[in-house]
């Protein structure tokens, strides 16, 4: 049991992100990012680089702003009424919040996998083909068939569904549905994949399959994952960012974060003293 009196950890001051938030070969770089929901500030001055072909894990207690931050990276927050963002977020040195930046194009470059598997109520084939059709990535049926097959193979789902491509995607198991969502995302060949707690609704076996898939995908894609499971962060990511009440407390190599955290708050969290 946690002694409430002892929870003075909350009072520990956070002034600057510790560790190594900046790297050389950055895919994404954010500077002085503040996010507000109406008057309530959800993110305070987040500065971080996300490396190419790396997996970065974002951890932290519930409500710390890690999901909000993730959703800033493909402007999914645009759809939320009252949400506004200040600061710079650059993808390949392009400001994604620039007024000439098209959010539709951005979301084709930065794909997203959600917490709850959300296949469309269509066939497995149509689920994977939808993005490609939308952006005109396949010029004919044969190319589209190939693309669907390739994506399903990459997502490690093809063997299981090859005979039922035209059955509804919603009839699959939870783990299969999530892999279908991943297949759907990689079918449009994005540069970055954002994953918002992709395994929190899945059992350990399905989780293990998806984690393996993530490691495999990181050879080609840059992946940012929000997770509640520290073990998962430790297993799959190269770098880990720790969020606390809207502040980015620490960014470091995953190894360092879990073995030798620089910040007191990080240590408290990973040792299970709160969270």
């Amino acid at each position: 049991m946690i002694d409430i009196e002892k929870r003075e950890e909350f009072d520990i001051e956070i002034d600057k992100t510790v560790g190594k938030p900046f790297i050389d070969d950055a895919k994404f770089s954010t500077r002085n990012v503040d996010v507000f929901y109406d008057d309530k500030q959800a993110i305070f001055d987040a500065n971080i680089d996300i490396g190419k072909n790396q997996i970065i894990a974002m951890i932290g207690p519930s409500g710390c702003g890690k999901s909000t931050f993730l959703r800033c990276l493909n402007r999914m927050n645009d759809t939320i009424q009252g949400c506004h963002i200040s600061g710079d977020i650059k993808l390949d040195n392009e400001d994604i919040y620039h007024k000439h930046q098209d959010p539709v194009l951005l979301r084709a470059r930065v794909g997203m996998v959600f917490q709850k598997p959300n296949p469309f109520p269509k066939s497995i084939y149509d689920n994977v083909a939808y993005g490609a059709k939308l952006h005109g990535l396949a010029s004919n049926k044969i190319e589209l068939d190939e693309l669907v097959e390739k994506s399903l193979i990459r997502a490690g789902l093809f063997k299981e569904v090859k005979d039922s491509l035209h059955k509804p995607g919603t009839g699959l198991s939870g783990g299969q549905q999530q892999r279908l969502c991943i297949a759907r995302t990689i079918a449009i060949d994005p540069e970055v994949i954002l994953m918002d707690e992709p395994t929190s609704a899945l059992d350990p076996i399905a989780t293990a399959v998806i984690e393996e898939l993530m490691i495999d995908l990181s050879k080609k894609y840059t992946i940012a994952i929000v997770t509640h499971s520290m073990q998962q962060a430790a297993r799959v990511s190269q770098r880990t960012a720790y969020f606390h009440m809207g502040h980015l407390v620490e960014v470091n190599d995953t190894n360092t974060v879990f073995t030798n955290p620089e910040h007191q708050l990080t240590e408290n969290y990973i040792t299970g003293r709160f969270g």
Binding site: N74, M76, T79, Q81, G82, V104, L105, L106, R107, A108, G111, M112, F114, K116, N118, P119, F120, P121, Y130, G131, L134, H135, P168, T170, G171, C181, R184, T185, I188
Partner: protein, 427 residues
């Protein structure tokens, strides 16, 4: 748990179960009462209305005499059309019932058959000119009083002055019955004729076509307008905007406006301002569109709201634009609900009378409308008109028309169920 707590819970348990049982009983009795009401309504309507699906016919030996027809040996088509068929029928009846004296009785004799007999005979002769100067045994529609008598609507034991059929008429009817010259047959003309002052000739075809055309106009206007409005308000309109809120409140209020107000509005705006002709399906459809729109908008919005937001996120996350997200995923997913709402709105419109009275659809119209700008009436208004008619034979026709209207409504609701099943998707 301590023994004490268990005791306390046990004590209350019996009471809790009794409460549950009581509540179940209330529910069941409420359902039983409503079913009883519904059944008594349906039985009442069926018992009154079913006889209308049969009609009495009279068999007459007709002497188609060219002299009576006032036709020469050579005649033109026009002369044949204008020939005096009424005289032929009168004479034939006189032959069948010799010894009828007095103007009153002669007139009563003529009124055994419907006025339509003249036209029936005319069409028969025009189709077969060879029957002229022969004797034919023909079946004609009987007058409504005879029909009512045949269906048991006239009590012989009443004093003569209280009966529609007098003693001498009863003698004729008995004679006809004895000679097997009176027969009840399926009432085809109820479905093939329009309204008439003579109950035995009145049918609902005109009202049915009028209803169909009116519904067509209503459907074509209210579905696209209502669904578009719902999609805009639900998917695109800014939230927490005072104008949007104002529109929302007003739509909800419109749904509660008495329908006759829409009729007055239609009269003032469509007829008064825009000069749309009155008592045509077009104006009926316009007014019913106004009345149906709030229902369609509200149900469609509810259906759109019920689509899980995760589907919108999935599509947006793949780089679909908002319009694509809406039309590729949200609207198809909401379609069952939208269609159900639309059909319920249409069913409401189909049964609506009050606003149509305001725009002149209550007129007596004996023709079947050919288009949306022909004067017409609709089923519920026809029911209203007939229920107001003094002739006894209109009573059963009123109920029969109600049965037809209910039939339409059941079919529409059935369609709604099928559509919902067909478009329903599992999540």
């Amino acid at each position: 748990m301590t023994g004490n707590t268990t005791e306390i819970i046990k004590l209350k348990l019996a009471k809790r179960y009794a409460k549950e049982k009581r509540f179940k009983l209330y529910g069941i009795s409420a359902i039983a009462v409503s079913i009883a009401f519904l059944l008594s309504l349906l039985i009442n309507i069926s018992v009154t209305g079913l006889p209308a699906f049969q009609q009495t016919y009279i068999n007459i030996e007709v002497d188609i005499d060219s002299k009576l027809l006032k036709l020469d040996s050579q005649y033109s088509e026009q002369e044949l059309f204008r020939a005096n068929y009424s005289k032929v029928i009168k004479q034939s009846l006189k032959t069948m019932f010799p010894g009828v004296k007095g103007r009153k009785q002669k007139r009563a004799l003529r009124q055994l058959v419907s006025k339509s007999a003249i036209y029936q005979l005319r069409d028969f002769v025009i189709d077969n000119p060879s029957v002229i100067n022969t004797r034919q045994s023909l079946w004609f529609l009987a007058r409504d009083d005879v029909d009512v008598f045949m269906k048991g609507g006239i009590d012989r034991s009443l004093p003569e002055s209280d009966r529609r059929l007098k003693d001498f008429q009863l003698v004729w009817v008995d004679k006809l019955l004895a000679e097997n010259r009176l027969e009840k047959r399926f009432n085809v003309s109820f479905f093939t004729e329009s309204d008439s002052r003579e109950p035995e000739q009145a049918g609902i075809k005109g009202a049915m076509i009028g209803s169909l055309l009116t519904m067509l106009v209503t459907m074509l206007l209210s579905f696209p307008i209502g669904v578009s409005a719902a999609i805009y308000l639900e998917e695109f309109a800014p939230k927490n905007n005072k104008w949007v809120d104002l529109i929302e409140i007003n739509i909800n209020n419109l749904a509660a406006v008495p329908s006759i107000v829409f009729g007055l509005l239609g009269l003032a705006v469509f007829i008064g301002l825009f000069g749309v002709p009155r008592s045509v399906p077009l104006i009926g459809g316009l007014v019913l569109t106004l009345m149906t729109l709030p229902t369609i908008i509200i149900t469609s919005r509810a259906a759109l709201k019920a689509v899980p937001p995760s589907i919108r996120e999935a599509a947006l996350g793949l780089g679909a634009s908002r319009v694509q997200t809406t039309f590729h995923h949200v609207v198809p997913a909401a379609m069952p609900g939208i269609l159900t709402g639309t059909i319920i709105g249409m069913a409401q419109a189909l049964g609506e009378t009050a606003p149509l009275l305001m725009i002149g659809m209550v007129a007596f119209i004996a023709d079947v409308p050919q288009g949306i700008t022909d004067p017409s009436t609709v089923l519920p208004v026809q029911i209203y008109l007939w229920s107001d008619s003094p002739e006894r034979a209109f009573t059963e026709r009123t109920s029969a028309a109600i049965m037809v209207l209910l039939g339409f409504l059941i079919v529409m609701n059935f369609l709604a169920v099928i559509m919902r099943k067909k478009f329903e998707k599992k999540w």
